[in-house]
């Protein structure tokens, strides 16, 4: 029974590929339906092929505005969270100080908390303080929940770093600042980059916390949420497809470049 044997041997691979298909199916649908020409307000049923939406991606009122707000918030949230998170990570790995346990749990808890709880409690704070909900409250919230992820990413990298490299730099008469800038930072950079990338993705895609604390400001996920009630324009799929393609292309290019570099070294 060669077929049965073959199936047995490749069962894991087949099951894995099925899962991969499950993960990618929605993206295929999003892409295909970006070329749809729906009859009604909702873009859920295939009607006919059209490139109208691709020719006019900003043709829907307010959508590109919301996209720009989301990009701005994601940009500043990434900078804020990466800066604060990297500092915490260095303090945690490199120094001994009191209340380490408290600090650790304060960083762990936001990741172990359902988003809706953080969103609701933050809203009660803002309401009690009488803060004006909008761009700034969203930014504050995003920095808050991205911070922990940066700490974890940077911490992992700094922890695996050989401390003798820094000692060597100091033995070679590098000052503390020089050691940090020319040795420590370059080695920690991949961790910091991973944290920043994660922050950007988390902030850009956040809906639950933003929904509670946005006031009348509309980010891109908020726009999509609203359109699920009012009618989904095809342009949403165009943006979704474009983001997917850009991300895949960026990652593949960086992979090719690092492969080449590795080969040159070897």
């Amino acid at each position: 029974m060669p077929v049965v044997n073959w199936l047995k041997r490749h069962l894991v691979v087949i099951a894995g590929l099925v899962t991969l298909a499950y993960l990618l199916l929605p993206n295929v649908i999003v892409t295909v339906f970006s070329f749809n020409k729906p009859k009604g307000r909702f873009n859920y049923q295939w009607q006919q092929f059209s490139t109208d939406a691709w020719k006019d991606p900003c043709g829907v009122a307010d959508m590109c505005g919301s996209l720009s707000i989301s990009l701005q918030i994601a940009f500043w949230a990434t900078i804020g969270a990466t800066l604060l998170g990297t500092m915490i990570a260095f303090a945690l790995v490199r120094y001994r100080f009191r209340a380490r346990g408290t600090v650790n749990s304060l960083i762990f808890l936001p990741m172990a908390m359902p988003e809706v709880v953080m969103a609701a409690s933050l809203l009660t704070l803002f309401l009690n303080l009488g803060a004006q909900l909008g761009f700034w409250t969203i930014l504050i919230a995003h920095i808050m929940f991205c911070l922990s992820f940066v700490v974890v990413a940077v911490k992992a990298r700094v922890m695996s770093m050989d401390p003798r490299l820094e000692q060597a730099a100091q033995d070679l008469y590098a000052g503390p600042a020089q050691t940090f800038l020319r040795v420590t930072l370059p080695i920690a950079a991949p961790g910091i980059a991973a944290g920043a990338l994660l922050s950007f993705a988390l902030s850009f895609d956040d809906f639950i916390i933003t929904n509670f604390n946005a006031g009348s400001t509309v980010t891109f996920p908020m726009f999509v949420w609203g359109s699920a009630q009012r009618g989904t324009p095809v342009q949403i799929n165009v943006i979704g497809t474009a983001m997917f393609l850009v991300a895949v292309l960026l990652v593949l290019t960086s992979m090719v470049i690092s492969n080449r570099r590795n080969r040159q070294k070897a």
């Binding site: 894991v12 999003v30 172990a112 953080m118 933050l122 944290g195 929904n211």
Partner: protein, 307 residues
Amino acid sequence: MATVTEAPPLAPTPEKKPPRKRGRWTPYWLLLPGLLWLIVFFALPMIYQGSTSVQTGSLEEGYKVTWHFSTYWDALSEYWPQFLRSILYAGSATILCLILGYPLAYLIAFRAGRWRNLVMVLVIAPFFTSFLIRTLAWKTILADSGPVVSTLNSLHILDVTNALGWTAGDRVLATPLAVVCGLTYNFLPFMILPLYTSLERIDGRLHEAAGDLYAKPWTTFRKVTFPLSMPGVVSGTLLTFIPAAGDFVNAELLGSTDTRMIGNVIQTQFLRILDYPTAAALSFILMAAILFMVTIYIRRAGTEDLV
């Protein structure tokens, strides 16, 4: 994309060297801004929420702390079905994620060879398309007249799920099945990444050793691979269950009024009905329930050093 795989949020990170002591005040200066941020915008709000939950009053007249604890009792007795449903749906989604995610994580770690990076990219890439857009795509996939529903129908699978109460009529949309399917889809990468990280650390020679000792592949998996991947299983299930239990997006977009989860209730209470004390109490109960379950789970799984 090696960068992301290096940093699964809950992967155990053993402390190797004791931190050294340098400038006495330096760590505090480094910690100050970030911790202040977390204290003011994470811890303090929890206290405000606790206080709001025991207040009485109205929007017009304002709220006062009256230690009105019966809000908790009222909230629980009115919304316990939604609580139960949240735990049930999130639990089912977590189990499904484990069943679906494990083979893929295993495939990436041991069987993908030169395709490893590409598969990894494909697992992460969907993240870059807004999850709301991707969730809406399930409306198309599970549409009443679509190929998925008609296939399930002709195979009489829908008859079974109807009998179990997972679906109703000849549709999948607006049923518990659709919500669980959406939750599973949305949180699957959070299962796969930690699983992959812990599988990848396993020394391949252990598999060979098990084989040399006449263990069949299944025995090797049960006795060697799976136990060694436990840290990944624990953090993966946590990373899936916690956000799934508080989610309201899938229940709203793919479900109906009969599939409302506790997240939906909190959202409507806060943003539409504006009953802040009830909403705060519900949110507090959810938080307490999850922290309780997570603590028990971590104790039982025996991995307490998750951060």
